[in-house]
Amino acid sequence: MPVYRMPDPDQQKKEKEPLHSSLADNLRDIRKRTGNSNDFVIRKFALLHSPIQVAAVYVAGLTEKDSVNDFVTHALSFEAKESGKLEVTTSLEIFDYMKEVALSTGEESVISDWDKLFEMLFSGGTVILIDGLKEAVSSNTSGGEVRSVTEPSTQVAIRGSKESFTESIGTNISLVRRKIKNPNLWVESMKLGTVTQTDVSIMYINGIAKEEHVENLKKKLKAMHLDSILESGYIEQLMEDNTYSPFPTVYNTERPDSVAGNVLEGRIAIFVDGTPFVLIVPTTFFMFFHAVEDYYQRFDISSWIRLLRLMCLMISLFGPALFIAALNFHQEMIPTPLLINLASQREGVPFPVFVEVLLLEITFEIIREAGIRMPSPIGQTVSIIGGLVLGQAAVQAGIVSPAMVIVVSLTGISSFATPAFNMALSIRILRFGIMFIAAFMGLYGICIASFILVSHMCSLRSLGVPFMSPLAPFILQSLKDSILRAPLKFMKQRPGLVSQKNVALNAKGGNRDDDSDN
């Protein structure tokens, strides 16, 4: 689905079209504008004591039937006045009554233009139009089918909450609010996408998040002229400073506890209606290698697991490249018995090492991609055929050497050890580039590639915060929660680059260190 940028941003500023005064005109216009879509329900009411026509309009799938009925009967209950005397005769009087009685519940509003009318309808509202008036009353009656809160499917944790976000932005925000019961948890909403009119909310904690970041983000969001936003990925891609970088600079999660934790550190969460994936900015490189569970488990285990993940990153990035380099350029580096072993394995393999690696890596990528898109029962078949049959048969046929299968599978498994899927994808792509350079220039090439990669990563920024912090720039305080995880007892400060300086992390707040500049 292509994202079209609207050519003319001024279009939004056009004059608001007022409603007609005649009910028939209004209803005809609604029918016309919606192309007679039959999920737009129009219910006309004839009042007992008055000739004035009234109609309720709502969209079938977006509303809850009971709420609609409640609202309508409530708004039109003036007929049941105990006096029995006819009090309301004119349109204006009906309207005033409705405003007075019905609007008291707070969820109702008065609308006078078409944009507002459709906005209400699409967000699940019911609109009551009165003949002879240019204004209408609406109420939030939203409901309909939504997915319930389920266990997270992409960011599974052994320990920690078992809930994940849904497609409904309201539910998602409430899930976080349940975790942070504090009036300072601020949510600001806006509608983005000129066609889709998608609800987008940003969430941060006032007083912890840096104001400049909030302002910066709002400016960025407002500057996006999008046709449509179907997933938070649209916003993520438009928000990135460096479009051509292979690294993602916006973190996404489907776990409310992850959002809560990050918001508490001073980051800002971006909720988009229609997707369970919530964006978090500013993002640093190490966030992609952290899982919320790290904070729930004890520090030593978490630290070890974080080191393991970084090791897996190295393997999945450099594994095949190092193998190519060692086998093609630096045979003297391999211990003699191992070299002879490898040489005997490669005996009879008809391809150069690079082609062999490429063959297996691409096969592996195909299996992986096919496995993801397949319906889950067939997905297993794919992995069995791919993993066992193909790997085994290729070795027996002498097309690839067994050591190569080990290297490629280890690489593949290592890439799954990255908690963030989008980072794992980037590494997957970069791996091929590094393999290519290694095939040309050996270890020297790998060194060049890593040098380029590291300097590129150091140049990246996410919402103004250096991507590689706290390593570059080096911030000792924040190192407590990057490569390793210090015991909670010692983590007294929030990461200084993303949060306001003077906030201590733990409840006591006693050990505030004002002169530390992180």
Partner: protein
């Protein structure tokens, strides 16, 4: 402006990426195109002033892994070439070998006895100069045969003979102590130093022709075998003679290279009836000139444990142990004395005394530099050994002692 910059950057990027493949994988070599050389043998050519260089090349199809059909070929192949230089011989081998020889994994260099006797000082330059050859390859001198025949012999248990020979020399120098692992780097150091060189010898027993065949290994007792035997003593880069048994071990003792060894000591009446495992030994050497003649002060402290006894001695008694310690010290002293006497007979200072003197007393060294060989031969050895027995093994009293 913006477009111009982007275009410029694009141009740079494209040119840079085009430069990349220009390197043309300059040093890339597939393993299938390499013959891994595991051992090099250097001999004198029979009647010419040339080297006959033997290469032991690994045959990857026959080294044990489960994949691929075994071709039934032996695990190694031998190529031999003669030339005025070693490098020349090495390149000439391309006429015989289907793959380029790859020397970075050369484990062993064997020098033929004939070549050793005529001088080895000038053969090691290539090992320092070449980027492939290693300085830490082990070096052995073939005894009573040429180097080629040593490299041709298949040895049991080990799949690669060269690695097997290196392990053999390591094993015996660690456990028995008559030989020592010497690598090329140390050899060159020995050649350039003031002292003389000593290398381990390896000897072939049995029929050399049988040793080349796999059938030789298809029996429980291998008929053709290589074994470590003696130390080759050099003088001015030429092999003088072989040193054997106690003298060889004494040499290791003086050189402070002894790791563990076993000595049989007398217990009272019975000769060599108690075996002591020497587990620790440290040697300090000091040299001084006394009335123009050098005196070698050698201080050895060693520790051992009792491993076996044939005599009914009661090890629970302190006196007995003290006596045994004295015997042990005497035995050690005897071996060291033999080593020094043998070396003095050859007039070859293989113990590094000259280097030691030069390092510690450069002024004294200047005075004796020119006639060190004769002075060394006349020098006196002052050997003092402290020996301790630290343990008696799993038992204290032997079952040989009858209960009272």
């Amino acid at each position: 402006m913006m477009i111009a910059i982007t275009r410029w950057m694009l141009n740079v990027l494209v040119s840079l990426s085009l430069v990349l493949p220009l390197s043309g994988c300059w040093n890339s070599r597939e393993l299938n195109d390499l013959s891994i050389v595991s051992g090099i043998g250097i001999d004198k050519a029979d009647d010419k002033d040339e080297y006959r260089v033997t290469f032991q090349v690994v045959n990857p199809t026959s080294t044990a892994t489960s994949t691929g059909a075994s071709t039934g070929q032996p695990p190694i192949t031998i190529y031999t070439s003669t030339d005025r230089t070693i490098f020349g011989a090495l390149r000439k081998t391309s006429r015989k070998s289907s793959r380029q020889l790859f020397f970075a994994h050369t484990q062993l260099v064997v020098i033929g006895e004939a070549l050793a006797r005529s001088g080895i000082n000038d053969i090691f330059d290539i090992f320092e100069r070449s980027h492939e050859l290693r300085l830490n390859s082990a070096i052995l001198v073939s005894r009573n045969s040429n180097a080629a025949s040593i490299l041709k012999v298949l040895i049991p248990v080990e799949s690669l003979p060269a690695i097997g020979l290196v392990k053999k020399s390591r094993n015996t120098s660690r456990l028995w102590g008559e030989n020592r692992e010497v690598n090329i780097f140390e050899t060159i150091k020995g050649i350039t130093g003031e002292s003389e060189l000593v290398l381990s010898g390896i000897q072939l027993t049995g029929d050399p022709e049988e040793g080349k065949k796999k059938t030789n290994l298809e029996q429980t007792e291998v008929k053709t075998l290589t074994m470590m035997k003696g130390l080759a003593v050099f003088k001015d880069g030429k092999l003088v003679d072989w040193m054997e048994g106690p003298a060889a071990r004494g040499t290791q003792w003086v050189l402070n290279q002894l790791k563990t060894t076993t000595i049989n000591i007398d217990s009272g009446e019975q000769k060599e009836s108690v075996a002591v495992d020497v587990t620790f030994s440290k040697t300090k050497v000091a040299i001084e000139l006394r009335q123009g003649l050098p005196v070698f002060h050698i201080r050895i402290s060693e520790e051992g444990s009792l491993s076996e006894t044939k005599a009914p001695v009661d090890f629970s008694k302190r006196d007995v142990i003290l006596d045994l310690e004295k015997e042990m010290a005497k035995e050690t002293q005897e071996e060291v004395k033999q080593a020094i006497q043998t070396a003095q007979r050859f007039g070859s200072d293989i113990f590094g005394f000259a280097d030691q003197l030069k390092r510690t007393k450069p002024n004294v060294w200047k005075g004796v530099e020119n006639d060190w060989d004769t002075l060394f031969a006349k020098g006196q050895a002052d050997i003092q050994v402290e020996a301790y027995i630290r343990s008696t093994g799993m038992r204290i009293k032997s079952y040989l002692i009858k209960p009272e």
